[in-house]
């Protein structure tokens, strides 16, 4: 990636990559040219969802296996989006959510169709039982088997066959008119569901903030690090409900976004104390609760958070202070981290730490001339292991880290863990 691309921000790159395959995406790159970066997982998630929605609405679907065509289209562009920015996990999350939506809508349409067929068959002729001997599986069994493709493999389905999904459209021997209405309905349903998803992403802050009153009580002292819009809304909501509390803000070097947060909190009338990151351990014993935001939440309950968060989590554990993480559901990632400090981290420019002018003689610019001794490493993220987190507050409610796998099973399908377009058609 060239330096200019780096400065533009990786999210612009991904839209450029997308526009190469889908010319309709040029509208997005156009809009993006007005501002340099999309920052933050919420905006990225929203852009990804809207992009996928336009892909789906423009995709022409054949009569049979509409879901397969849609899934292929989404996977193709999803693969490129994820490859362009693997560290921004929200992109992959939304791609997988949309794939899961397509599968779910297809399934509900199919079961509805079979249900309708069964009714008509029974009312027509009682001798149908004999003819049904040809198809060895009853419709109920097919529906049950199809349902099991949606759920992750479990002990229940261990002994079953891989369900014959090809059998499903064959049993519905309806006319062409019925099929075309089904195809329109699938796209329509999927787009509706994706609209709901976008709505959820946009309103996640409000839904999380609604739960603020249950967690923040009178005369409490809250600690946070850096700046997170979710935390801001959360604290404001508690203030609205007339709770009086104090906030300690750790400044969050090297970007010092804690300064901005402190300013906004004071503007709303909350008593705020600003401290350095190194002072967290000294002040933690006077704190009732730590509330922070996250960049992403992994499947084991671990958190990818702005750098310095691991320090705060360890301090909180040492002093038995609850460590609460606020995260919208678009941040929930179905992958298990195996080397998160390296693979899921972003190394930012050293200029945030040092002034290039002063240190130009000893700093390592990577050009190989001379023997510079000073290397500067500026990682953007930290990994907080699940045992340090007390509670996750998502727009789906408050849960503890060992419960995260349940939300993942609800939001994602097992087939989509690796987003790759398969060579063979069909599921």
């Amino acid at each position: 990636m060239s330096l200019s691309q780096l400065m533009l921000g990786p999210n612009v790159v991904l839209c450029n990559a997308a526009s190469q395959t889908y010319p309709s995406c040029n509208t997005f790159t156009h809009a993006l040219s007005f501002f340099n970066k999309i920052e933050g997982s919420q905006a990225t998630a929203r852009q990804t969802a809207e992009l996928l929605r336009s892909v789906i609405s423009q995709q022409r679907v054949p009569y049979t296996n509409q879901a397969g065509a849609l899934i292929d289209a989404v996977k193709a562009i999803g693969e490129q989006l994820i490859a362009a920015n693997p560290v921004e996990l929200a992109v992959g999350n939304i791609v997988r959510r949309v794939l899961h939506i397509i599968r779910e809508e297809d399934l509900s349409l199919t079961t509805a169709a079979i249900g309708g067929l069964n009714l008509s068959a029974v009312s027509d002729d009682e001798n149908d039982d004999d003819r049904d001997g040809d198809s060895t599986l009853s419709a109920a069994a097919v529906a049950a088997a199809a349902r099991s493709t949606l759920r992750p493999p479990s002990l229940q389905t261990l002994l079953e066959d891989t369900p014959v999904s090809a059998a499903v459209p064959q049993t519905s021997s309806s006319g062409a008119a019925d099929k075309s209405s089904r195809s329109r309905k699938l796209k329509h349903d999927v787009i509706e569901a994706v609209n709901e998803l976008i709505q959820d992403i946009v309103t996640c802050h409000e839904q999380i903030a609604e739960q603020a009153v249950e967690h923040i009580h009178q005369n409490e002292v809250i600690l946070t690090l850096g700046s997170s819009r979710t935390v801001l809304e959360f604290l404001f909501a508690a203030k609205e409900k007339k709770r009086s509390f104090r906030v300690f803000v750790a400044e969050g070097a090297p970007r010092y976004q804690g300064h901005l947060l402190a300013k906004e909190l004071v503007a709303r009338g909350l008593q705020t104390t600003l401290i350095t990151d190194s002072a967290v351990f000294a002040m933690i014993s006077r704190v009732n609760m730590v509330i922070v935001g996250a960049h992403a939440v992994m499947a084991n309950g671990g958190v990818i958070a702005p750098v310095g968060m691991n320090l705060v989590a360890l301090a909180a554990q040492k002093h038995a202070v609850p460590f609460v993480v606020l995260a919208g559901s678009h941040k929930l990632c179905p992958l298990y981290p195996h080397n998160p400090e390296v693979l899921l981290n972003e190394l930012r420019s050293p200029s945030e730490l040092l002034d290039f002018g002063e240190f130009s003689d000893c700093m390592d610019f990577g050009s190989g001339s001379g023997s510079p001794l000073l290397h500067v490493v500026n990682p953007a993220f930290d990994y907080v292991p699940p045992k340090l987190v007390s509670l996750f507050i998502t727009d789906a409610g408050g849960h503890n880290p060992s419960y995260m796998y349940r939300l993942i099973a609800d939001y994602y399908s097992a087939d989509d863990l690796v987003v790759q377009r398969r060579a063979t058609a069909g599921n």
Partner: protein, 396 residues
């Protein structure tokens, strides 16, 4: 004085019957001397004296010493005699079909998992049965499964495999088929296919764990687990550079066998005695173990020594990964080490032990879930808390 748990009363009763007062070397007493006063069923006593499951495992993977060989041959002849007494009555005379014999035949193959052997044996029951309705077949299967389970109470995957198959049979018969013969043939076909599922399961587990093995890492393994062997084999085939520290795994010394296999694959291996684990734990990056059974709390039951290794790893912040197929999930919830049925196996110290000295002969221990990091199963990568969820879904 010696026993901590409240179950010491139970232990005392067992010890009185199992260990005779005078014997120079510690050998398991033949059941005939005990069977008459204590229990009418000789099978129970044989279970208390030697666990057939661990005996089989040792026969497959352990190093065989001469008097161990003598003991196992003795046990094998006893097994055939008592096994023949179990006849599954399907309402026919003259055909003494024994599900236990069938099971033993399958179990002898070293590469076959216990649960697969159990399911194959049950499939043979279906094949040989003369039942005309699903209900009758289910009753026969239940009887066969119960006799299998009671024959070797110490094998968890046997119990879990039987339960899984019974559950599948009940669900299938309720849902799908009008015709009995097609249902029956489908059950037999699924049971035979289960063997493939188990091989596939090992491959899936190996694939899932590949990401967690990085270049230059040091892996500690305990004893011999076929699943872990598959994981390491696949990593070696993918040209990953890693090093394995392998414990000896007393008393059956299955670690020696594992070291042999790894040396064949050109993987750098270092053998440790079991007591050297804490000494070398700081150079270890992760611990990989298999499991004999995965219990409801998310903990595992595995060869003796696993709990110790997990404790040391936890105190030094090293991750402990478990590779276990999903049919090893069992509906057990042990609260402490002595909570499970005893699985004993004789230990050969090489020198005669005076009879007054007691020997701890348990073959397995229980590792609680808080010391485990992740479980790799064919259902995916799971954290220990997911296990109970899966079990509830199956049995509810």
């Amino acid at each position: 004085m010696w026993h901590r748990s409240a179950s010491f009363i139970l232990d005392k009763n067992q010890n009185d019957t199992v260990y005779p007062a005078d014997s120079v070397t510690l050998t398991p007493p033949p059941p005939s001397s005990i069977s008459t006063p204590q229990n009418p069923n000789p099978n129970l006593n044989r279970n208390m004296s030697m666990s057939a499951y661990y005996q089989t495992r040792a026969a497959h993977h352990g190093v065989v010493t001469s008097d161990w060989l003598a003991q196992s041959q003795e046990a094998a002849t006893r097994a055939v005699v008592t096994g023949g007494q179990e006849i599954v009555d399907g309402g026919k005379s003259g055909r003494a079909f024994s599900v236990i014999d069938e099971f033993n035949n399958w179990r002898k193959q070293p590469d076959l998992a216990e649960a697969v052997a159990a399911i194959r044996a049950l499939a043979a029951v279906i094949r040989n049965s003369e039942a005309k309705t699903m209900m009758e077949l289910e009753i026969e299967l239940k009887k066969a499964s119960d006799s299998l389970k009671s024959w070797d109470t110490t094998s968890i995957s046997l119990t879990a495999g039987c339960d899984l198959f019974m559950r599948y049979v009940t669900r299938t018969s309720a849902l799908e088929y009008e015709d009995f013969n097609s249902a029956r043939s489908r059950l037999i076909e699924r049971a035979e296919k289960f063997g493939e599922i188990s091989y596939k399961a090992r491959k899936i587990i190996a694939m899932l764990s590949q990401d967690f093995i990085f270049d230059g890492c040091t892996i500690l393994v305990h004893g011999f687990s076929r699943v872990v062997m598959e994981v390491l084999k696949m990593a070696a085939q993918n040209k990953k550079l890693f090093r394995v520290l392998c414990t000896e795994g007393r008393p059956d010394r299955s670690g020696l066998r594992l070291a042999n296999e790894l040396a064949k694959l050109d993987v750098p291996v270092k053998l440790l005695i079991d007591s050297a684990v804490a000494y070398t734990m700081d150079e270890v990056d992760m611990v990989f173990v298999g499991a004999d059974g995965v219990v409801e709390s998310g903990g595992i039951i595995n060869m003796m020594g696993t709990y110790q290794i997990a404790l040391v790893a936890h105190s030094m912040n090293k991750p402990v990964y478990v590779a276990a197929e999903s049919y090893k999930f069992a509906r057990l919830y042990p609260l402490d080490q002595k909570d499970m049925g005893p699985a004993l196996r004789p230990i050969d110290f090489g020198v005669p032990i005076p009879s007054k000295v007691e020997v701890e002969t348990s073959a397995r221990d229980y590792t609680p879930p808080q010391y485990l990091t992740l479980l790799f199963t064919d259902l995916g990568v799971l954290t220990p808390s997911v296990v109970s969820d899966e079990l509830i879904q199956l049995y509810l």
